[in-house]
Each structure stands twice: as structure tokens, then as C-alpha cells.
């Protein structure tokens, strides 16, 4: 194996991306539904790592550093657990121009 380059922490990785965060959460999660979910696909699949399981069986989520990709609601197999809309116009992720 070639020598590994030092790993970048996830915080540094996502810290490289610009987000103009709006005060309204554009994602909401129904914790009661998540409590009964055994698969929790959102936790591993969300590229922004926005879904974190809590010790009491719920899901802690935040919406601030969201790519607005849609992965979470597509893999969520518990009907209606994730309500997902686009953030307010002009807010959310801003991919960079050169």
C-alpha cells in the first residue's frame, strides 16, 4: 500500500463547503417514527452526516450543512419520517464559482 495521506476530519471536509443557512429548518424528522426504525439508512447514507442516532433510540438531526441532495428522504423507508423541502430561495448550500 502507498503511504496514506493524513485523513481530513469530517468537520474540515464539510467546512470547505459554503452554506448560507436560513433560520427555518427545511428538514424535519418525526422522532417517534425513527424510534421504531431498524434500518436507519439516513445515518450512514447522508453525505453531510446530518443524522445522528441518540442513546434513547431517537435521531438527532440538523439541517444547516445540507447539500440538498435528497438522499435521506429517498432511503428513509419509514413512510413520512423525514419531511424534506428546499430551503428558502437564496439560502442553503452554495457551490463555488472559480
Amino acid at each position: 500500500m502507498t503511504e496514506r495521506w493524513p485523513e481530513v476530519s469530517f468537520e474540515d471536509l464539510i467546512g470547505s463547503t459554503r452554506f448560507d443557512v436560513h433560520e427555518r429548518a427545511h428538514i424535519t424528522v418525526d422522532d417517534a417514527i425513527c424510534a421504531d426504525c431498524s434500518t436507519r439508512g439516513c445515518v450512514v447514507a447522508c453525505p453531510a452526516n446530518l443524522f445522528v442516532p441518540t442513546s434513547d433510540g431517537g435521531i438527532l438531526f440538523n439541517y444547516e450543512q445540507c447539500f440538498e441532495c435528497g438522499t435521506c428522504y429517498l432511503v428513509c423507508n419509514e413512510e413520512g419520517a423525514i419531511t424534506w423541502t428546499y430551503p428558502e430561495g437564496g439560502h442553503g448550500v452554495v457551490f463555488k464559482r472559480t
Binding site: 500500500m1 502507498t2 495521506w5 463547503t17 447514507a45 447539500f67 440538498e68 428546499y86 463555488k96
Partner: protein, 439 residues
Amino acid sequence: MGEPHSATAVDAIVVGAGPAGAAAATVLARAGKSVILLERGSFPGSKNMYGGVVYPRILDQLHPEWWLEAPIQRWVTRRSTMILTDTQALTVDFRSAAWGAPPYNGATAYRPDWDHWLAGKAEADGAVLVCSTTATGLLRDDRGHVTGVTTDRPDGDLHARVVIACDGVNSFLAKEAGLYGEVDAANYTVGVKETIALPKEVIDERFGVRDRDGVDIEILGGTSGVNGGGFVYTNLDTLAVGVVLKLPKLAAQQLRPEAIISELKAHPGIAPLVDGGEVKEYSAHVIPEAGLSMMPKMTGDGMLVAGDAAAMCLAAGIWLEGVNFAMASGMYAGEAAVEALTAGDTSAIGLAGYQRRLDDTFVLRDHRKLRRAPSLVLSDRVQHLYPGMIANTVERMFRVDNPAPKPGLRRILDEERKRAGVKLKDLARDALDGLRSYG
């Protein structure tokens, strides 16, 4: 036609100023129609991400000699297809000097640059670009004919004779209009990418290119066992390194996307290319992967769907395209809308010219021909069995095992097929599927 349109209605609202929307708005504006191009980002392209290669020849029709001004990073003059196992890499590497001169073939480009440029062209032709405005739903008359969109602006309802939904892979407008059937996660992949800064000279040297010439590396394997693929593209002074992952497979295992990219970057065949450098941006976007089988109805009363919103990405292994399909479908949607507006009938029947154009051009001809390709490429055998079988065969072919004499190639292949657990019957079936698609 439905109810009379309000006096303030424009001819067309195009939702989404990506490649599809910009092309549609350009065609409408040039025909003298009033058109609003709505964009939820603060500028066109700000929400848009892809792997990194665009094939712009369809722009010959809209913007002749587009290459004189298009904001490209490098012209792809070298295309490599790699098969990776944990320890092996087999590469088919092709170069063409012709691809480094007009009319070119593929180019790497940043989507915020590309989309901003293309939407600017629509604006210059007379389309009214409205940014920072999210379309939140459809307006319809009592017969269901689409008459505009609601937005998140105060008093933000916008009325139009036709709405063209170019609102991307999640297209809530096409879903609201009932143009999609059941949405199945298995039809989608997520593309996740690191943009890594390296000096231009370092990139030139590592990838064996000069000036504006660039490299496109597509990878089968290297996704830590999750069905999908990888890529490395050269921009001028950054690399795009990433993976595309089938959603249900990603969700059903333990490794997160950024860890899968890390594994790819650590592969002995990839690490020397990407080592060092600083991550300039981390990004992700969902891809409509399944092609024809997941496409919505393209036309409703007062409404057309184009680009990713119509699932037009072509994910066919050796061909990975999307922006070209978006630009073409947007252009044809624009043409059909102009026809319908001029004739005064924007019902689904009046807009039928759109489906006809899609059927008659590469947009749906390619998708029909390659309808079996996406599922074949992402199948468990192609993903998990064939890479090892092929790489082991090649390894034994090139290995000098003295004092043992060289085995015949047929024997090696047969042994490796059995060792990989591939049944002849399945191999033959996949080969036939491949021939039907690519032959």
C-alpha cells in the same frame, strides 16, 4: 385550453436555471416569447454539482462556436477506464489529439461556472432571470391545467401559459403534477466528490498532459463493496475525486460516503495521482441512475419536464452523460412550447411536439438503446464478481511463474471464472445483455 389566463401571465415560466432550463429559456426568448427563468440559488449553478465532464456538441445548434467562450477547465483528450480490486488495477487508456481541438469532445468544467454562463446567454437573449426564489408548488385551473407556480416570495404566485419544470432530480413539480409513478430509491445513486487543489504542473505531470488537455478516469470497483463506481477528473488546478453509490446498497451497510472516498484515494492505483493537496470543496448530489425505466410522463396540460427532473442522466458505464441530455431536452421543450404558444394550445396535445422531438433524437434513442445498461452496470455480478475475475486473469497472464510453463489463456479464464463463482450461464446472459446494449 383551461380557464382564460390572467392578464399578468407570461408565456412561459422555466423552473430551474440549470442546463435544461437555460436552454429552454434561450429558445423561448429568441422566438419572442416572454419567459421567466426561476432559480432557487443565489446564482445559476450554485446548487448544481456533477462529477465533472460535459459533452457540449448539442450547443452547436444554440450557440455556434460555444468553445470560444464556454468556461471549461480542460478538454478531455485522455479517457481511462479502470477496474479496481483491493490490490489490483486494470486500465484501458485512450488518447486522441483530435479531442483537444474544435469541435472538441468532452470537457471538464465546474457547474457553477458552466450553468452561470449558460443562463447568462438566456438572459442576453431576453429571458428574465429571477434568482433566490424557490418554486413551492403548481398553480392549476379547475380542470387541472397548469397555469403557473407558487414561490416563496411574498405575493409570489407567477402565472404562465406553460411551465417547464427543469427543477432537478428531486423535481417536486413533476411529482406534484402526477407525472411520476412510484419513486423507488433503487433508481437513484448519490454522487459524492472532493475537489482537491494541486498545482497545474503537478497535475500535468501526474496525468501526462499539457496545456488545457485533461483526463477522465472512470472506475469500476473501488467503492468498498457498495454498488457504484468511482472517478478522477482533472480540472486546471484541482482534481475531482469521487464515488457514485447506489442508494439502497449504501444505506444497508456501515461505511459512510466520505470513508468510501478515502478508501478510493488510498488505493495503490489512485493514491499516487491524488496524494497531497487541499480539499477545496466537498459536495454531493443525487443522480437519476436508472434511465428509461424511471422516466416520468414528459408532458401534462400546460407543463413540460426536462433534464434531471425527467431522469435524463445516461448512466451506461462506458457512457456517463447528463448535461448534454439536459441541454437537449431543454432545447426541445423550448421549441415545443414555442409551437404550442404560437398555435394557442398549451394543452398536453398542443405540447406533443416535445415527446416527438425526444423520440426522434439522441435523447430517447440513446436511452431506449441503453435501457438495460444501468441495471447491468450496477448488478452484483458486474460490481462484485467480474472485476476480480478479470483482474486475476490479467495478473496470471502477465505473471512469469517459472519454472512452471505458461498456462493457456482459456484455461486461466476458465479457472478464474470458477474461482470467482461466476456461472457460465450468467456470464453468457450478461454478455448478451451487454451486446444488446452496446452492440
